[in-house]
Symmetry: C2
Subunit: 219 residues, 2 copies
DNA sequence: TTACGGTTGGCAGCTTGCTGCCAGCCGATG
DNA sequence: CATCGGCTGGCAGCAAGCTGCCAACCGTAA
């Protein structure tokens, strides 16, 4: 494929047939951005890819996988991500949508997938440095603002109630004012603040504010 | 230019000659991501572009311009950004590097610039939806995590001293412990914390923590 | 030398935050 | 019906945070 060329294929079969050779060797870095882990139409393909990648990671390959919170929606996906992360891949979660899967291999080959159904969607493959470079930069920028999977705490207790408390805290209100606004007693408000502090694993309110922001819990 | 094609040109003259027609009409949306505003080799070109874009914004065009903090490095750039923002363009600053300028027009045409010197660099232009879509999504993701120009406070008073205080606060230490560690009295530590709170325009420590994080002041 | 401005540190008084305690209320269960 | 668990709200006691006050110290300038 000449350097300035782009090929577009439909479906995974055609992708493998026309561009599979480009993905044969991953030597240095594998970058992937997607909504969730259901990339390929067959879940077994995902397992096969992961099992091939793990030895490579041990040999020095850098794998960066960027997903949206949808990738943590069910236990299967989460389990898979924790598994690849434990194997050494860097996994981050970003809050913005990633409707098009983007894969960049060794900054040499780039695969862009349409937003369609995994089994029937259009793939664009290119080796053009003029295209890969800028996309890689944008991937990098998104990566930098994403939260490492390990740092991302699951906070199921972010009820509407807790969210209102975060709002009040973020507005700098005293407990008394905030409690009155919420229509609860000061003791109850403080009890809930203490719950929130515990959930944020924070010893001070400054630290809690910092963490709430880091975790994207601010309203 | 066929849909799946990409053209690569070197220099602005060749860009205008071979692809200038693609940029003739901007009807709906103009998205741009770059390190700073020194996009073109001639500053007068920047002024001319801005002066053409302002009436369009008033007619409903959405202009989104995404830069790194380098775009605020000098008064001239800052002044320009404040000007276009005042004219209705949305300007955001993102903390990650954007070494390749990326321009997407009406989601129809995309221009990717190499990282070279403005007067002598390579441009890649494409109208391929398979390419524009994913890049647009990554632009969007980066945009979402960037800070609106208006919200970005300049905080020159982040001395090494204040940074150490932020560290102590972020670690959840009590004032007494932090003061002792810094080798100052509790009164002095608290005096400095109060200075920091004032600088962060915060009424509570939670709010201060939140803002410090938002402003990227955390160590 | 003295005078001045800025900073520090100790102290005191106050407010805000933290949490235990206990009574009361409510819903669910046997 | 009684019992239980969970939650609420008032109160008290304490810790942490906030700030004014004043003396002491330091560097600088006249």
């Amino acid at each position: 494929m000449p350097n300035d060329q782009v090929i577009t294929v439909r479906g995974e079969k055609e992708l493998a047939a026309r561009a599979g050779h480009l993905f044969a060797g991953v030597n240095e870095e594998f970058c992937c951005a997607a909504t969730d882990v259901n990339t390929w139409s067959q879940p077994t393909a995902r397992v096969a890819i992961a099992s091939r990648m793990m030895p490579a990671i041990r040999s020095g390959l850098v794998a960066r996988k960027l997903y949206t919170p949808a990738a943590l929606a069910d236990d299967e996906q989460r389990g898979h991500l924790l598994q690849v992360a434990a194997a050494g891949a860097k996994v981050r979660i970003c809050d913005a949508g990633l409707p098009h899967e983007t894969i960049i291999i060794d900054r040499r080959v780039m695969l862009l997938a349409g937003p369609g159904v995994p089994g029937d969607r259009e793939f664009t493959v290119t080796t053009s440095p003029g295209l890969i470079g800028p996309v890689y930069a944008l991937f990098d920028a998104t990566w930098e603002s994403a939260v490492p999977l390990a740092d991302r705490r699951e906070l199921p207790m972010i009820t509407p109630d807790a969210r209102e408390i975060l709002r009040a805290l973020g507005a700098g209100l005293t407990d008394e004012v905030a409690a009155r606004r919420m229509g609860v007693s000061l003791r109850t408000y403080r009890r809930r603040v203490a719950d929130l502090m515990r959930a944020l694993d924070s010893d001070s309110r400054f630290q809690a504010g910092l963490r709430a922001g880091e975790l994207g819990l601010t309203p």
